[in-house]
């Protein structure tokens, strides 16, 4: 550490830190407008001049001058104050001082500094309106508005867009006094490369960049900040809901640099995706079916009806006749209560949640190999990866803040290997891009491992000391030559070799995967094989080195942790293990169910054949999310009793007998567990609409009505109970979770939490190799359906669209469904970019607009599944992974044909 003196105080700095960084860390506020800790210093505003080595020395800029040993710095003097006042007065001549009507009032750095230095806004006369600037690149945008007359040209937004987001959508245009922020050629923002992350707003020191929708809903000083966890993907970003208490309304979302997971960054959904909270379409009252429609009911009536019907059906049909769908969108506490409701009140293991739809193969596969299934490293560690092996994972869209960490690693020189049937952003920036055929992952991974073993590149010591069953595994690699795999995957053999060597030699290398790996009929095998790869190369159990499934939903990690699945009690404790059973039976005062229960997929099947008669769905929409939609609807219609606990009238809720209005993430307290196993608080910011209630309260009422009373003063007490039963959460409580939360395992009250897993020893003891034989997809393309259809997510929408389809910013950018098709295939079928098309599979049809380009392979088409009216799941196949019943969303056979005239260009694909 370097020691220096700032304003007569001794402070410390790391080598390479600037005076500004050292001062801010010590709590000394050096005035600045253009500095941001996450951006490269530019020295544009010139406000941070300080004296170094004496007050008589010419000032230097604190933001670009490195701290050095023994340096003496003075940050305030009459001369500095005069210079700062002069610079501020220049800025005030350019800035339309309109604090009386500005949303940033009370949260504006220029305002604060002008006050601090007594800058005269009238020195250069009244503000001169220049050229009309109201019309600019944001004028048509529904999310972001830029006001050049309030802009101080600090360039934070431009640098953020360029350096952090790497979108380079905005730049400075013009020079001198005419300089302003603009897109290239002034193209409207939503038609530019802008990813609408809102970063420009978050870094803006004045009111120049702001949310259009927030205008007039409260000045910065009218708003109260409520720190909470984002409710979209599983990255676990911390954010501040800025709430106007008088209006009971979230006005905007901010975040702060230095937060452990996201460092103040958010994506388009995190920044703008809260419109749904205040939607007039929210469910406000319990509803009971009456003929084809619903009538409003009191809570007493609705809960009474649910309790009695569930009891009745259980008593007549046995506990197997009841099934419970918990929700990864809900809190840990609620998931815990849901599985407790199923197991203790209904006496069934028929409880599951959407992990089955996505990452259940991760839980199963990694648990088999290592003994526990979760991201082994932390998000923060990604920046230190030297090699990133990214397979079936479109992080910059589906997990954008993890994507930012990967971009950061790229900027600091990491090697990026991407294996994906689609040319994603990461693929475009990869050193090695393997665009393999959908469903050929194990062919590829086996060939890589076969090459690594053949070249002697594997970590013999790690394999010998930390793993078992290597010999059988090694034998199993026999037939998988690089040439054979290259032929089947449709890629260059040289790329496979290079990827294998780079990964094996990386110091360190990390594996990142998502649903491109799990959503296959061989999903669990795929995961096990990635575990093989990591163990083979000893690339696990170290900082920045491991295997990292990025979880798709805010609390899918927590939902699994809480045992909201058939075969595991909370904390992944085996439901058959007598010791675990005894612990829970004692705690809950009931005998645990004996049946093995089923998965979401099984519930749908069994609803069709009459085994399941009542289904309780909390915060899920299986009609939209399960494959082969037509069949799902038919089966759900056969149920005697369907309860939906929801915030909107979902497609599934339309079929329900009773609908219970729940509270969204901003309306209740609780915890989410994110991908990196960090348990973080969510906090109530606004009251739920109408008579809607927090879901944990509803679950307690239902359980009580079923004859198993549950009474908790609040979520903190629920958490205390679950922590007492789960060793990995045992050291946590709400008091300890204040601040940055804790990463499990955290077994004792003193334990600091665990940054990365499997250091020195795997959870199960030795890592277990599995020999994985390649299995092709269940439905191969043929003459009738010649293309492979793959489905997935986009940056702008989230899952079934309940929330994001109500988001003006996202719907403007991506108003309707589209299907990506390679230009060669498009030419073959006579399809032009932007044209209306029909996509068919053996199970159904849907429409979309064609997005023609080179993003997908010529043998593949790709569709997102966010759009209810053009549902991709009308096409997907109900073929499942045999272990976890996860559907093969990534591969089915389909065909495509033009059905109408071309509209405007799709703008869904970069032209390259």
């Amino acid at each position: 550490m370097i020691r220096l003196t700032i304003d007569y105080r001794e402070v410390q700095a790391r080598p390479g830190q600037t005076i500004m960084e050292a001062a801010l860390a010590a709590g000394i506020e050096v005035p600045h407008l253009c500095h941001d800790p996450r951006l490269s210093p530019v020295g544009a505003c010139r406000l941070c001049q300080v004296h170094v080595g004496g007050i008589d020395r010419a000032p230097v800029l604190a933001c670009i001058t490195q701290a050095s040993e023994g340096m003496t710095v003075i940050t305030e003097s009459p001369e500095l104050a005069a210079r700062r006042k002069a610079i501020l007065e220049l800025l005030l001549s350019e800035h339309r001082v309109a604090c009386t009507t500005c949303d940033a009032d009370g949260g504006c750095v220029l305002q604060d500094l002008a006050y601090r230095y007594g800058a005269d806004e009238w020195l250069y006369g009244a503000y001169q309106h220049g050229e009309p600037v109201a019309l600019n690149y944001t004028s048509e945008n529904r999310g972001i508005e830029y006001d050049a007359e309030k802009c101080v040209r600090c360039g934070r937004c431009v640098r953020f867009c360029d350096e952090v987001q790497m979108a380079s959508a905005i730049t400075f245009d013009g020079r001198g006094i005419a300089m302003k922020v603009n897109t290239a050629h002034g193209r409207p923002l939503h038609q530019s490369d802008c990813e609408l992350c809102g970063g420009c707003i978050r870094v803006c020191p004045t009111g120049a960049m702001r949310e259009r929708a927030a205008m007039g809903l409260g000045r910065a000083k009218d708003l109260a900040a409520v720190r909470t966890t984002c409710t979209y993907c599983g990255v676990g970003c911390q954010m501040d809901l800025q709430v106007n208490r008088r209006l009971n309304r979230i006005v905007r979302v901010t975040s702060a640099p230095g937060l452990p997971v996201n460092d103040g960054h958010l994506c388009v959904k995190g920044h703008f995706g809260f419109e749904f909270v205040n939607s007039p379409e929210r469910l406000t009252d319990p509803l009971i079916r009456e003929g084809d429609g619903f009538r409003t009911a009191s809570w007493d009536e609705a809960i009474g009806l649910v309790g009695s019907r569930l009891r009745q059906i259980r008593d007549r049909g046995g506990p197997e006749a009841l099934a419970f769908m918990s929700s990864c969108r809900c809190t840990n506490e609620e998931n815990y209560l849901m599985q407790k409701l199923a197991r203790a009140a209904a006496s069934t293991n028929n409880v599951d949640q959407c992990a089955t739809t996505c990452h259940a193969p991760t839980v199963a596969g990694l648990a088999a190999a290592f003994g526990s299934g979760a991201m082994t490293n932390s998000t923060r560690e990604i920046r230190d990866c030297r090699v990133m092996f990214v397979i079936g994972c479109n992080a910059t869209e589906a997990h954008p803040i993890v994507g930012l960490e990967m971009k950061r690693a790229l900027r600091s020189g990491a090697t990026l290997i991407v294996c994906d049937p689609r040319r994603t952003w990461l693929a475009d920036h990869a050193h090695i891009f393997i665009q393999h055929r959908p469903g050929s992952d194990n062919m590829l991974i086996n060939a890589m491992m076969s090459h690594i073993v053949g070249q002697g590149l594997y970590d013999r010591k790690f394999v010998a000391e930390r793993c078992e069953d290597f010999d059988a595994f090694r034998e199993g690699l026999g037939g998988y030559t690089v040439e054979k795999a290259a032929r089947y995957c449709g890629v260059e053999p040289g790329l496979i070799r290079q990827a294998a060597e780079l990964y094996a030699r990386g110091a360190p290398s990390g594996i990142f995967y998502t649903l491109g790996i799990t959503e296959h009929s061989c999903g669990t095998d795929n995961v096990k094989n990635l575990a093989n790869l990591a163990m083979l190369c000893g690339q696990i159990g170290k900082p920045s080195s491991g295997i990292n499934p990025l979880r798709g939903q805010n609390n899918v990690q927590g939902g699994c942790d809480m045992g909201a699945m058939p075969h595991r009690l909370p904390g992944y404790q085996d439901w058959k293990d007598p010791v675990s059973r005894e612990k829970f039976q004692k705690a809950w005062g009931v005998k645990l169910p004996e049946n093995s229960g089923g998965r979401v997929t099984h519930f749908i099947e069994r609803a069709g054949n009459g085994e399941v008669k009542a289904l309780y769905v909390m915060g899920e929409d299986p009609v939209m999310s399960e494959p082969n939609q037509t069949k799902v609807i038919a089966h759900l219609r056969k149920l005697d009793f369907l309860v939906c606990q929801e915030i909107f009238m979902s497609e599934t809720a339309r079929l329900a007998h009773v609908i219970l209005p729940g509270a969204c993430f901003a309306e209740k307290d609780g915890t989410f567990t994110c991908s990196e196993r960090r348990v973080q608080r969510i906090r109530r910011a606004v009251a739920p609409p109408g008579r809607a209630r927090p879901d944990w309260e509803i679950l307690c009422s239902v359980s009580t009505a079923m004859g198993y009373p549950m009474n908790y003063p609040g979520p903190a007490e629920v958490f205390a109970e679950l922590a007492s039963l789960m060793p990995s959460y045992a050291g946590m409580n709400y008091a300890r979770l204040e601040g940055d939360g804790l990463q499990w395992p955290c077994p004792t009250a003193e334990h600091p939490g665990t940054r990365f897993l499997h250091e020195g020893k795997f959870t199960r003891g030795k890592g277990l190799f599995h020999s994985i034989a390649f299995q092709p997809q269940k439905e191969e393309p043929d003459a009738e359906y010649p293309l492979i259809l793959s489905t997935g997510r986009t940056l702008y929408h989230y899952n079934v669209g309940t929330m994001t389809r109500r988001m003006a910013v996202a719907t403007q950018k991506q108003p309707r469904n589209f299907v990506e098709i390679h230009e060669d295939a498009a030419a073959r079928y006579g399809i032009r970019d932007g044209q209306e098309v029909v996509v068919r599979s053996r199970r159904g049809r849907t429409t979309a607009r064609a997005a023609v380009g080179r993003k997908v392979r010529p043998d593949t088409i790709w569709m997102p599944f966010h759009f209810v009216e053009e549902s991709a799941n009308a096409l997907t196949i109900d073929a499942f992974d045999p272990v976890t019943a996860t559907a093969e969303y990534k591969c089915c056979a389909a065909r495509i044909e033009p059905s109408g005239p071309p509209e405007a260009a799709s703008r869904q694909q970069p032209s390259r």
């Binding site: 505003c45 010139r46 002069a86 610079i87 001549s93 101080v152 040209r153 001198g176 006094i177 300089m179």
Partner: protein
């Protein structure tokens, strides 16, 4: 002969490639030592010792280094580089080649201002000839360990790109905006690699130094300002054009040579330079007195000094890149102040504010543009007080009484 050239130029007497061949007989260290012995300093105006720059670039460790010739001659009143490039391009390329050899660069880039696009064809032809003669390419001048090619990159019409770090940004395809220094280009320059940026004239003199010897160069000029210098003379004089004079020449002798003895003032160093009043014509043009890149604008007796200041400030208000606050806004405010003075609407108080603003700009601006743009106005206010005060109603009334 180019009609702009008004007296005999040394460049016309030096054989192209002669200096280069002489230099190629020496070792890298010897070359830099010879440059140091000559005492040559940067002819763009800043006067940084060329040998020091080369030494730093030579010492920097990198897989690749660059030599850049700054041909973004944008200072108002300067046109000597244009003449050098059109008449003596061979000497410039000789100088670049010597520099490249000395620092270990394999690529040379000539950054040509957009207004000189018409010179590009000629320069490309010269380069093609040099490639054909083995003066460029693999094994320059038969030296197996020396490979060099020189390419031309075009500017796009921004004055700021004459500033070496903005020039590098521009060559990289970025907005032409200055970088923070340190790191300096000799360490972290084009694409982050060591880069020596030299002015057109400096490089041409380097070729002459190797043709004639360091002692020849050192024998003229002053102790701190060695050698000869080209001047671009314009304005109210009988014979404007390009002149060669020894460094250390007095303003008076220069004016005599160009037929501008009656001048009221001379703007030396272009718009960002100094306005020297008649009373100071005994001063010398040298790095230790009045430094210049060679722009001499003669201002006649009948000229309105406020008009002169207005002309310069209009230029800067337009050419400021806009990145840093003092320069982006300060130049505009100084120009507005000049307009107020012209309209008789400026108070003494406000004039003091403007002068204070000028000082803030000099001290707080990021690069040379904003640091020097107030010079002209400030020196006019200082040296032509009566002309300025006459525009302030209260001061003018007081003077009449």
């Amino acid at each position: 002969m180019n009609s702009s050239i008004k007296n005999a130029l040394t460049f016309s007497t030096v054989e192209p490639s002669g200096g280069l061949r002489a230099a190629m007989d020496k070792g890298r260290a010897e070359i830099i030592a010879e440059v140091r012995a000559s005492g040559i300093r940067g002819r763009g105006g800043a006067g940084f010792p060329t040998s020091v720059k080369w030494n730093l670039a030579a010492a920097a460790k990198s897989d690749r280094k660059f030599v850049v010739c700054n041909a973004d001659e944008g200072e108002p009143g300067t046109f000597k580089d244009r003449v050098i490039l059109s008449e003596y391009a061979g000497l410039v390329f000789d100088g670049m080649t010597i520099a490249a050899y000395a620092i270990g660069a394999t690529t040379g880039i000539l950054y040509l201002r957009a207004e000189y696009t018409y010179l590009r064809e000629h320069l490309e032809k010269v380069l093609a000839e040099r490639r054909a003669k083995g003066l460029l390419g693999q094994g320059v001048c038969g030296k197996d360990d020396f490979e060099l090619d020189i390419q031309i990159r075009m500017g796009a019409g921004a004055y700021i790109c004459g500033e070496e770090t903005a020039l590098i940004e521009s060559m990289e395809g970025q907005r032409g905006e200055p970088r923070n220094r340190p790191p300096f280009p000799v360490d972290t320059g084009f694409t982050g690699r060591p880069t020596a940026v030299n002015n057109v004239e400096t490089l041409a003199w380097v070729a002459c130094i190797f043709a004639r010897g360091a002692d020849w160069f050192k024998s003229v000029g002053t102790g701190k300002s060695a050698g000869l210098k080209l001047f671009s003379v314009s304005g109210d004089c009988k014979a404007p054009g390009v002149y060669e004079f020894p460094m250390g020449i007095t303003v008076a002798s220069l004016l005599e040579a160009v037929g501008g003895q009656d001048a009221k003032a001379v703007q030396i160093g272009g718009a960002s330079g100094y306005c020297v009043p008649a009373g100071e014509f005994t001063r010398t043009i040298a790095y230790e007195d009045i430094a210049t890149g060679g722009s001499i604008i003669v201002i006649g007796r009948e000229r309105d000094m406020l008009k002169v200041a207005e002309n310069f400030m209009e230029f800067f208000a337009d050419e400021s890149c806009g990145q840093c606050t003092p320069c982006r806004l300060g130049n505009g405010k100084l120009l507005e102040g000049i307009h107020l003075l012209q309209q008789g609407r400026c108070s003494m108080q406000y004039l003091r504010e403007l002068c204070s603003l000028g000082e803030t700009m000099q001290l707080a601006s990021k690069c040379g543009l904003g640091q020097s743009s107030p010079n002209a106005l400030l020196s006019i206010v200082k040296h032509f007080q009566s002309e300025i005060m006459g525009r302030i109603p209260a001061a003018a009334a007081a003077a009449r009484e």
